[in-house]
């Protein structure tokens, strides 16, 4: 990996360079919650001053830009008994994500495993994902973050460049030659020994700020053993089966497909919408049988898929510990609490 040092005041130059001819997505301030804390969101940026690089976590991850909640997969033209199907991967124009936290970058890496690296790569995702350029940025751990427990507090790949704020300048990790070539066009420097030391100090200071933890030791086995445990019923009684947790999760990708037809029967569309395994009909099959009829079986399934099934398939969990699901859950269900209670700890 190549490292460079970039002065604070030169960051705008980098932005200008990147945004020339490209869409830029970045964290912006959308308002404030009832306690006056700012609410952030990923949005298209028109001007560098709108980007809030010191943002906490966005309420909703950046997934709408590469995995839209609703997407037309194909169009049909119907003529009597015959029809033509036209597939469109909705490629869109390339874009830059300017200021993505390590957890969200890791979420993309996990999605890549399922949606790109598996048996049938998904072109709808690939079409957008492969046209992204990612500038990562370091973050300040929030009370609900447990990314460190999930091994997602640092990103090792999946970005083009990553910035760590060292006070008056940024420590830049360069991962792609595209990033290298951009950076070549603005003033930057080789980091010195003291920059390295400051970087490591910043990293260890950050580590000390994590308050929420999840013990993942033997978790796959424990989830298997505790499959029938009563704690699931307790959480299930609380859960509203609203699906918000999946909505705000950067790694949830389950979807449903619907078709709709024009009133005159001349055209039809095949539409993909993101779904949630917490919604009641997710595991229903023909004849009305539902494999997961109760809310606790569905809630358990979500944990089971993320913290056991995915680990078995990819040797890592499908959760990056961003804490968004717990933050947004109206029933106050958080991953650290659920896992601790399943492990038999405090609940």
């Amino acid at each position: 990996m190549l490292f460079r040092i970039l002065k604070h005041e030169d960051l705008k130059k980098l932005y200008d360079l990147l945004s020339r001819g490209n869409r830029v997505i970045g964290p912006v301030r959308k308002g404030a919650d009832k306690d006056g804390n700012p609410i952030y969101a990923f949005e298209e940026i028109g001007d560098f001053i709108n980007i809030h690089l010191d943002y906490t976590t966005t309420k909703i991850p950046a997934k709408k830009f590469f995995m839209p909640f609703r997407e037309v997969m194909a169009d049909f033209r119907i003529k009597g008994k015959d029809w033509e199907k036209k597939i469109g991967f909705n490629i869109g124009s390339p874009f830059i994500v300017f200021g993505m936290h390590a957890c969200d970058i890791n979420a993309l890496n996990k999605l890549d495993k399922v949606l790109l690296g598996s048996h049938y790569p998904m072109p709808y995702y690939a079409a957008k994902r492969k046209n992204m350029f990612i500038v990562g940025i370091d973050c300040i751990p929030q009370p609900y973050c447990f990314c460190r427990s999930m091994g997602s507090d640092t990103a090792l790949h999946g970005f083009d460049m990553f910035l760590t704020d060292l006070g008056d300048h940024y420590f830049v990790e360069i991962l792609s030659d595209t990033a290298y070539n951009f950076l070549r066009q603005i003033t930057n420097a080789e980091p010195t020994e003291s920059d390295h030391a400051r970087y490591m100090k910043a990293a260890s200071e950050k580590n000390r700020k994590f308050t929420a933890h999840v013990d993942t030791t033997d978790l796959t086995k424990i989830l298997d053993m505790e499959f029938q445990a009563d704690v699931w019923k307790k959480w299930g009684d609380q859960c509203l089966s609203c699906g918000t947790c999946a909505n705000v999760c950067p790694t949830c990708y389950c979807y449903g497909v619907d078709e709709s037809v024009a009133l005159d029967l001349s055209r039809a569309q095949k539409i993909k919408s993101l779904y949630s395994c917490n919604l009641i009909d997710f595991a229903e099959v023909a004849g009305g049988h539902n494999f997961r009829p109760e809310s606790h079986t569905r809630l358990k399934y979500r944990y089971y898929h993320k913290h056991r099934g995915f680990v078995e398939a990819y040797e890592e969990s499908l959760c990056v510990g961003c804490g968004r699901c717990g933050e947004s859950c109206l029933a106050g269900i958080t991953v650290p609490e659920v896992i601790a209670s399943v492990r038999g700890g405090e609940n």
Binding site: F76, Y120, P123, N131, F133, T178, Y255, F282, G309, A313
Partner: protein, 302 residues
């Protein structure tokens, strides 16, 4: 039909991260297929014969008994159906379909000559080659005969490769029996056919009871060494798996030599939508056919 992915530069003069388009083509690749015949089997089940329209695609369409296709009615939806005909008939398929909901109701209104879409074949099949030289028990309950008909055709076409062959089939009532017109043909091919219904009617002369009763009766007359070289394929409602497979296991047939087909709702067939996911297993990719040992190790599988 497949649309191309183009990659635009983000930076000056460089093509970024090239991705092989061929890998992506399969995702929504639909074959246009024509309904060439419709047979009424019962009050709620029809046999649809469909043929891939393009002759080249038809020849290319190869599948294993037990695999399924996603059948698409444009504007209505898509659903998985097991291929219910011989695997040696490429691209000319029979689907035995029960009318249960929106898509199937619409399908039952379509005439011959209508075009439908199919994607696939998807999933795993029954490992027929493994069974060569052995006895086979083909056990079906209700609509389970639909997926079983493809391995039955395989056995018929390669009858000399198998030892003793039994088909054991049960439904609730005689009126629900599928493919009654084929029974004599199966028997003629030296297959023992055992049929049982849970509740007879005045015309019914055959046995009455559960499938497990038939199994008990047959097993009484089989030597211990019969069980040493026997495979079983079990298709039907999930409750049936437990009873039947437990019985087979008691006769020392290893669970790895019993195969079942699992049902889940499927929206993609390509291990993406997670509809059919159980833990780490996508039924559409690693199934629907599983050996019973694997099923025992999956939570909420049946």
């Amino acid at each position: 039909m497949s649309s191309q992915i183009k990659f635009t530069d983000i930076t000056a003069g460089q093509q970024r991260r090239h991705f092989r388009e061929n890998d992506l083509g399969a995702f929504e690749n639909t074959y246009k297929a024509e309904i060439t015949a419709v047979h009424r089997l019962t009050a709620i089940e029809n046999l649809f014969r469909i043929q891939i329209v393009d002759p080249t695609d038809r020849k290319k369409f190869v599948f294993q008994p037990g695999q399924f296709v996603m059948l698409e009615l444009p504007g209505i939806g898509e659903a998985p159906f097991s291929i219910s005909s011989s695997a040696s008939r490429h691209g000319d398929l029979e689907l035995c379909i029960r009318r249960v909901g929106s898509l199937t109701n619409f399908l039952f209104r379509l005439d011959r000559g209508t075009h439908v879409g199919i994607r696939g074949p998807f999933g795993t099949g029954f490992p027929m080659d493994q069974m060569h030289g052995e006895n086979i028990l083909l056990i079906a309950g209700g609509l389970g005969l639909a997926p079983l008909r493809s391995p039955i055709a395989y056995v018929q076409e390669n009858r000399n490769l198998f030892d003793n062959v039994d088909i054991i089939y049960g439904t609730k009532e005689p009126s629900q029996l599928l493919f009654t017109y084929q029974y004599d043909m199966w028997r003629a091919d030296d297959v023992n056919l055992h049929i049982i219904v849970e509740k007879g009617d005045p015309a019914w002369k055959g046995p009455v009871g559960m499938i497990t009763k038939v199994l008990q009766d047959i097993f009484m007359h089989r030597h211990a060494d019969y069980f040493q070289k026997t495979y079983a394929i079990v298709c039907g409602p999930p409750v049936m798996f437990k009873f039947v497979c437990t019985m087979l296991n008691e006769r020392s047939i290893p669970m790895e030599k019993m195969f079942v087909s699992l049902e889940r709702r499927m929206h993609c067939g390509m291990a993406k939508c997670c509809r059919c996911n159980i833990g780490s297993t996508y039924i559409c990719l690693k199934g629907p056919v599983f050996d019973y040992w694997s099923v025992m190790n999956m939570k909420e599988a049946i």
